[in-house]
Symmetry: C2
Subunit: 186 residues, 2 copies
Amino acid sequence: MSADLPDFEHLVPEGDSVTRAVCRRCGFINYQNPKIVVGSVVRADGGILMCRRAIEPRSGYWTLPAGYLEQHETPEDGARREAQEEACAEIAIDALLAVYSIPRLSQVQLIYRARLASDYAPGPESREVEVFAWEAIPWPDLAFPSVHWALRHEREAAANGGAPFANPDGTSGGIMPDGGPWGGEE
Amino acid sequence: MSADLPDFEHLVPEGDSVTRAVCRRCGFINYQNPKIVVGSVVRADGGILMCRRAIEPRSGYWTLPAGYLEQHETPEDGARREAQEEACAEIAIDALLAVYSIPRLSQVQLIYRARLASDYAPGPESREVEVFAWEAIPWPDLAFPSVHWALRHEREAAANGGAPFANPDGTSGGIMPDGGPWGGEE
Ligand SMILES: [Zn+2]
Ligand SMILES: [Zn+2]
């Protein structure tokens, strides 16, 4: 490790109430905040637009267009940007579908209901982009528990309304499911 | 400025697509993420619990218990913690009231509807904590536009449902209002 790299220790700075990473060399405080993931369930011709990941984690598995919200971006703009980046797709956002919380990863996810408004193609982070009818969704090959949740909640919202949803009872998005519709948990 | 302090310049790191603050001395990348504010509109005896700020910005003005979500915290836990810290109050959360976005500040706010479940008193960041009947709310002395929004949306949710709400049309939470119920804008 270069002698120039920051050398962080974890302590509670004066006047603060929470442990922060503070550089031993210069006192720089590296505030870590939870991250906001924005994404969408995009309906297209009666199917759902999905992306097969070309990057880790979960490369090769199927996901929804989603990613980290950037500075000075609204969540809706972020969800549109991610659909453009990952699926080369323009989308029209309808409403908030779900707010999920994954405290282990310090993540809050805002997932929107949307409609496809253009063609689509894989962006640099996707191997394939495809529109799946509900029955054809590759359930065993979904990338993350929250992809399960969002697909099920989209189904429920389309049938009965009720959006936005939160985490299914008893789930915290920790690990990939082995079976049940909502994903297994630690 | 100490010669040891990080010396950040703004550029797009290799393999990235967004401008980051990168230390000229050692290459440390200071990823800046939007921040999540969690808070609540707390009903108590037909009134709303409010806190008069003891700290800047907007010291002396009235606000709702709210603050930054911490690492590994769910938004609901964060809203409960903020009510405890700012108003020494336990609250019972009912539902999500609103998701506001303030892109100028890179903030996303998750505001919950809640009920007071204990006594209350000013915490270290509050000069006073009070329960106001609707007519007695100190409207000219509210700290932030989103406090206006949340109070109005609570009123609407109590009367007609419809939560969660988003920013009122045409608002982005930029500056404090001079008059209208939703706050003036840049
Ligand atoms: Zn340092
Ligand atoms: Zn440095």
